[in-house]
Amino acid sequence: MSGFPILTLMVFAPLVGTFVLLTIPKDRVQLCRQVAAFFGLVPLAASLWALAKWGSAAVTPEGLRLVERLDWIPSLGISYFLGTDGLSFPLVLLTTLVTFVALVAAWDMVKEKERAFFSLLLLLETGMLGVFLALDYVLFYVFWEIVLVPMYFLIGIWGGPRREYAALKFFIYTLVGSVIMLVGILALYFMSGAKTFDMLAIAAAAPAIPLAAQKWIFFALFLGFAVKVPVFPLHTWLPDAHVEAPTPISVVLAAVLLKMGTYGFYRVSYPTLPEAAKAFTVAMAALGLINIIYGALTAMAQKDLKKLVAYSSISHMGFVLLGLAAGTPLALAGGMFMNISHGLISAMLFLMVGAIYERTHTREIAKLRGIYVTVPVVATVMAFSFFANLGLPGLAGFVSEFFVLAGTFRVSVVWVAMAGLGMLVVAGFNLWMMQRVLMGEAKEEYAGLPDATPLELFTYAPLVVLIVVLGVAPGLLMRFLDGPAVQLVQRLGGI
């Protein structure tokens, strides 16, 4: 380890915040908010600082930067091993930004037990950042599970009417998935003979495992990650969790938590077990296409705005799976791009649904009409977000879909055609929703509702700017994704 442990600071600053908050009297709500925002700002600043230093940071042969490594349990080959590369770093930036946005958005939206809410959200951030930065399986698993508990309470305590059911469903799905994943990890540890939980060392030693066993391990890991993505048919917890979760938590859930699953594929399953991954190519593509089309069609049928956005997430995550299945550099990079663009866009979508709900106290599409007339600024930002969601060229969502499809074209025209069909449905439900909610005569009962507050605009601004910037200049992000995509293709034996 050399230099200042910036990643450790990033990961554990929110945890410190969790405990600092508990020392503040809980009726000092304003102070709690400020302290929480401060501890959300620390990792954000740290990640921006790391971004500024990116070019000058030392790079390992595997393409890792800012590596920190300490022995933790040497007798079992477990180490405290953090590091980042072009695959994880954009997700880290996304996490620090979106969590900060959520912490600020919660100022207006969370109106009870604020202190506990903020401490749990900060604990969640520690878990999420740890997942993206850990390069040791046990450490990875510890952070993976740390995410579970605060999320459960955040949905279960601050959620909507069916919060208990939703929280429990989330907990059980994820726990079962992750425990099966743990069995897969242990199998990797023993069968690779690497005698270490170091992800890179295991990836190097894993080809020695017999292919049949590789497939089982791949499947075990797949279940753990697929629940988080979520992949059809393991997705049913997501709409429930989203509908019940308070807005800031929906934002984090959609923008970051789902990415833990796809990140797992990119970081663990594919590079470690490329042969098994290739054997599952068609299955993966099929699941991806089902996610895209089923998610879009189901979204179209929703009456609840939040459920619509949730199913839209399922649809978009299908593109990541399709990119993985295609396995070309462009498609893989497109999938990673989708992680980021969907993170930004879905965060915006949930913020907007939250903004509508805060004002009208309903999310039912049928009860909403003429929002453009009622609250023009909110409606404009909302229109922007949903256009970004349907893949409007010039915005970030389009770029990722385009890359995935362009990269898949060489592999299978049929897949592209089916995904294209899904995109049409995506465009359809977005436009239809906007037509019903935004346009039309204003409803009288909503007259005089306040338009966007400065605080809301402050939370929207960074996301909107990034959606535009990445749409116009995708190279800014591709600079990070190129290397890992090419590396992964080499592992998969292509080109």
Partner: protein
């Protein structure tokens, strides 16, 4: 020479002081008995840790009985010391939890503290000997004190029932164990495990005596099965746990159970790792070869029955009793895999389990001191009524389920690694499934504490039900337990090394 038994001497002296103190202290000052006991266990803990740290340790391992005044009766190997530290720590937790409880529920103090300490003494002797006679003496010392402890709430019928049930099954188990020991002694002519497991012991007996010896060993497994509350020898545990005064229940669930595991490790550990005693073949060799399978079956049945039965409980102590049975099942995995790592995992898990289960019971006692907390429904709204207790209980439950970053996770990981490493992946899978089932009942309590609205469940206006302040001693015990639960995982490396040393000394 006497330095080796210093912790035992301190514990004995403390037990006597507690007994006499209760006799001679004026009625208004009896609380001091608790404080005296507290000082005593802290000193004993210091003595045990000090012994381990100053290296007053014999290498351990099976060998001929050494000469000298203690003549193989008392071992000072690392396994003995490690277990003694755990036992005295359990004693410390029990005393901390008992001081206020004795006051609110009218436990006779002299009896409670002295009997607890004498039980701890028996546990220490069980782990600290390589001789069947001493192991049995330790076992009985613990057991007889425990029967009395279970019935200490004299006016309470359920306490009496608990004592009676515990006594009847316990006495039966002791008799079975004693009979087993007698058969083994009759066959091989020695009670020293070093002799028995060496080449001249069980391996050398004439073939006609082999069935006798094997019967003796089977009876030992069954008898200790009772003491461990392993299924199908578990039926006494829920009743005894439910009726006994709660600090005593807490003690039962982690103390005598851990001591029984220590004795099983002493007697069967070397056989599990190295195979039949003295490399014996024939029936004895077959039996030794079957032992891991026997423990595997016990383990699977115990954890499954424990977890499934726990799902149906509405009484908090019964719930924790079945949870405790399930955990005995997890720990048996370490024996079933029959490897040095398996034995080390048992030692680590016993320590981790002591911390997390005492923590959970500390919360029950926190509430019971204020006249509530026996039923799972009493935990409704605890997040508001006693936020610290609720939070601590969540941490302990996460640990009991095995969710990181807690000691329970690392304990299970250790057991997993031992199981998968020995090719017994199926045991790991059964354990995983069981952990998933266990979420069900722990969840019910957490749900009550955090999610259920008090207004709906209790028919009271929010805020109408007052807060439940914890007493300083209970808070201390709970704080120590929670810190241990969180810290044992972070310092897994040094602790697992100690556990491996302890396992290696068997």
């Amino acid at each position: 020479m006497w330095r080796v038994v210093l912790p035992e001497l301190v514990v004995t002296a403390t037990a006597l002081v507690a007994l006499l103190g209760d006799l001679f202290l004026p009625a208004g000052r009896k609380r001091a008995v608790g404080y005296l006991s507290l000082v005593g266990v802290v000193l004993a803990l210091a003595a045990a840790v000090g012994l381990a740290a100053t290296g007053a340790v014999t290498p351990g391992g099976v060998g001929p009985a050494p000469a000298g005044p203690l003549a193989g009766m008392i071992e000072a190997d690392f396994f003995a010391l490690a277990m003694k530290v755990v036992f005295v720590a359990v004693g410390l937790g029990t005393v901390l939890l008992g001081v206020d409880f004795a006051e609110t529920r009218g436990l006779p103090r002299g009896e409670f503290f002295s009997l607890t300490l004498i039980a701890v003494l028996g546990m220490m002797l069980m782990a600290g000997s390589r001789d069947l006679v001493m192991i049995y003496l330790g076992l009985e010392t613990t057991a007889i004190s425990s029967y009395a402890l279970a019935g200490l709430l004299r006016g309470d019928l359920r306490s009496g029932e608990a004592a009676l049930k515990y006594f009847l099954t316990g006495a039966l188990a002791s008799a079975v164990i004693l009979f087993g020991m007698a058969l083994v002694f009759g066959a091989a002519g020695s009670t020293n495990l070093g002799d028995l497991l060496g080449p001249g012991g069980l391996a050398g007996i004439r073939s006609g005596w082999v069935p006798v010896a094997v019967t003796g060993l089977v009876l030992l497994v069954a008898g200790f099965g009772f003491k461990l509350a392993a299924v199908p020898f578990h039926f006494w545990a829920p009743d005894a746990y439910e009726g006994a005064p709660t600090p005593v229940t807490a003690f039962f669930s982690v103390g005598p159970k851990a001591a029984a595991f220590a004795a099983v490790l002493r007697i069967f550990g070397p056989v599990l790792v190295a195979g039949a005693p003295g490399g014996a073949g024939g029936v004895l060799g077959d039996f030794s070869g079957l032992l891991p399978t026997l423990f595997a079956v016990l383990s699977v049945v115990t954890m499954t029955v424990g977890n499934l039965a726990a799902l149906a409980q509405t009484d908090m102590k019964r719930l924790l009793a079945y949870s405790s049975i399930a955990h005995a099942g997890y720990i048996l995995v370490g024996l079933a895999v029959a490897s040095p790592r398996g034995l080390a995992a048992v030692v680590y898990y016993l320590a981790a389990y002591a911390a997390m289960n005492l923590g959970a019971f500390a919360v029950v006692i926190w509430l019971e001191n204020r006249g509530t907390g026996r039923e799972v429904k009493d935990y409704v709204g605890l997040a508001r009524r006693a936020p610290l207790a609720a939070l601590a209980l969540v941490v302990c439950f996460l640990s009991l389920i095995g969710i990181p970053p807690t000691a329970g996770f690392f304990g299970k990981l250790y057991l997993f690694l031992a199981a998968v490493g020995e090719g017994q992946t199926w045991l790991a899978v059964v354990m995983v499934l069981n952990s998933a089932v266990s979420v069900g009942y722990y969840y019910g309590v957490v749900r009550n504490m955090y999610l259920v609205k008090e207004s709906e469940a209790l028919g009271a206006e929010p805020g109408a039900v007052g807060t439940i302040p914890g007493t300083p001693l209970v808070r201390t015990a709970l704080g120590l337990a929670v810190v241990a639960v969180l810290v044992l995982g972070v310092f897994f490396e040094p602790l697992s090394r100690l556990a491996a040393m302890a396992g290696g000394a068997l």
